[in-house]
């Protein structure tokens, strides 16, 4: 027998004992990340729902499970509050009496000022409010996966009372989970998500309500309208909870949105002004990152014109797949209103060049963009 070669030295994990409180999609994904990346020696799942705990354990998401808070929490040096947003404060109140004073505590709620104040009032010292900007249309622990958090923007919102060492440790955790930490105050975060997330949701909802009042509208509602109302198709309860929790910042965003709309409405009588506004809007929109995979996302796009014939999407993707070109993103630029065209997001300028050649040779008309 020959001795097997020694394996690489396993680095010491960041945490000895982690508790994931609320083992749903996000909590489960954090747990899986901690385990798969060897960031915690042991991961305990805590949830009030015993069935969820059984699922989590059966799926290997956590090492062990707990259905009630208690002394077991004192051994945890990392506690992640991952309940639905409205349940976060009650959850924190339940756990606080049992937390070790040195435990690092963070949460994953999508609105930050309220929970930051709540934990401060509870006297939880090493609390760093967080918001991983990841999600899925399919919730629950069965859809949890470590990859959900990879490359996601994960906002950390320390207050004036957050110890810098705690912030530093959570930032390290986030980086080790493969996500991209971004640090800002809770109020700033809530104001920004009010504008980029909660206001668009409300605007989208208002548009769907116009259609609900006149079904003739759906006859003419084409790609553009679908795009603007897609977010109204999300989970109603979660969407409602988010906007209610963030209503102060949202009202502010609504007021600014209304002022922009009023200015544009006034410009309807000043065509030159409106043209300038339209040009500025296009510039801004075209400079938005295509897929928010990192803070410096790739913008290597290719637009392919496709004739109105069967299986054009398949023809395009197969031609590229056969040549080993990796399609990172794909978007049908509406079939009618914007013409038969597909936008492909590729990895590099070189891939755009190769894909153009391949598709040209296959008889497609292509155009680079961005």
């Amino acid at each position: 027998m020959t001795a097997s070669p020694p394996g690489p030295a396993t680095p010491a994990p960041l945490f000895e004992q982690a508790a994931i409180a609320g083992v749903g999609l996000i909590g489960g994904s954090v747990a899986l990340g901690l385990r798969q990346r060897l960031l915690a020696r042991r991961v305990t799942g805590y949830d009030a729902d015993v069935q969820v705990l059984q699922e989590a354990q059966a799926l290997g998401v956590v090492d062990d499970v707990r259905a009630t808070p208690g002394e077991w929490l004192r051994a945890c040096d990392l506690v992640v509050l991952a309940a639905p947003m409205r349940a976060l404060a009650p959850l924190a109140r339940d756990l606080a009496p049992f937390l070790s004073p040195t435990a690092l505590v963070t949460d994953v709620g999508s609105v930050k000022a309220g929970i930051a104040a709540e934990l401060e009032a509870l006297g939880v010292r090493n609390f760093v409010p967080g918001h991983p900007m990841a999600g899925s249309e399919r919730g629950g622990v069965t859809h949890a996966r470590a990859a959900l958090l990879e490359n996601a923007v994960w906002v950390l919102t320390p207050t004036d009372h957050t110890p810098l060492t705690a912030l530093s440790r959570v930032r390290t955790l986030v980086e080790h989970l493969g996500a991209a930490p971004v640090v800002m105050p809770p109020d700033a975060h809530d104001g920004l998500v009010a504008t980029v997330s909660h206001l668009p949701y409300l605007a989208s909802l208002a548009l769907t309500h116009l259609v609900a009042r006149d079904e003739r509208l759906s006859l003419l509602a084409a790609g553009g309208f679908r795009d603007l109302t897609r977010v109204a198709s999300g989970d109603p309860r979660m969407s409602r909870d988010m906007v209610v929790e963030n209503r102060a910042a949202l009202r502010n965003a609504l007021a600014r949105f209304r002022r922009q709309l009023e200015r544009l409405e006034a410009d309807l009588d000043q065509p030159e002004e409106l043209l300038a506004a339209a040009q500025e809007g296009k510039r801004t929109r075209d400079s938005l990152p295509v897929v928010k995979r990192s803070l410096l996302p790739p913008k290597h796009d290719l637009v392919v014109a496709v004739p109105d014939q069967p299986n054009q999407i398949g023809a395009v993707t197969q031609a590229l797949g056969a040549a080993g070109v990796n399609i990172k993103d794909i978007e049908v630029l509406a079939i009618r209103e914007e013409g038969g065209a597909i936008r492909l997001g590729l990895e590099s300028v070189e891939d755009v060049r190769r894909a153009s050649e391949i598709l040209n040779a296959a008889g497609f008309e292509v155009r680079g963009r961005g």
Copy 2:
């Protein structure tokens, strides 16, 4: 020598001599449809831009070309006004003196009340205002193709003065071009497109202006925000012209949009009301047709979860392509905010079943929808 079998009898064309006034994307596509489907014996292209005419003739879009109005128009029994919207009225004034009183005249403008009144004032008797809801992000005659109009909704907006025989003939023309005619009064059309097209454009523009004023926002702007601002990326001049021309109906739509927003803002203090509104919004959005290819569009959707690994789009489309499953529509349900998932639009329930089997066998998790 053996005699070749007699060919099928060619049906008489609908028109002897058609004039396409304005040979751009839409005009060129109508011309190609008329020629390829043998709907007109001869198609003349008229445009003030001689270079456009040369291109049109070189591409075989038209049989012959004219750069000035004149007596040649009297021989035309079909005249299609296909200039950009702001040029339609001047174009009509230029051509009107030369039109045969029996000529069928239609236009393709995206706002109808103004041009309908204009042509009536000019005394053009057999005028039927029309709006083919087709377009492309790539304009100009070089991108014209008959397929652009196939299955497109083509709204016809007769006034009280439009002869029913003229309406009937244009409807037949539209059907023969492969499009789906929908008839309603000009004001009704303008009100509907104000709501489903021009209002969303203005809302989208207002959102981009918020981001333009604070670049931190683009850091957190994910899939949802991109969706809501996509239409702001269209041609600024064309978009501006549309909304200015339709400003009366648009102001009305804006007022109704504001009322909806105000109601939702008030509901921020009434969480139960807001939940009902969110649920109603989701119902409405989920019942919108996926791709407006016909008045009864297919809704055979399949959602595929994809891990965060290279070339998942290629893997999915290639697996289906190899099995001969035709992908009619594809949509990345955002990479992060909505989780790694792709929506596929397929042709039939049977295709959804087959695709599910194929993708399951390939290790993907799938879910039917709709």
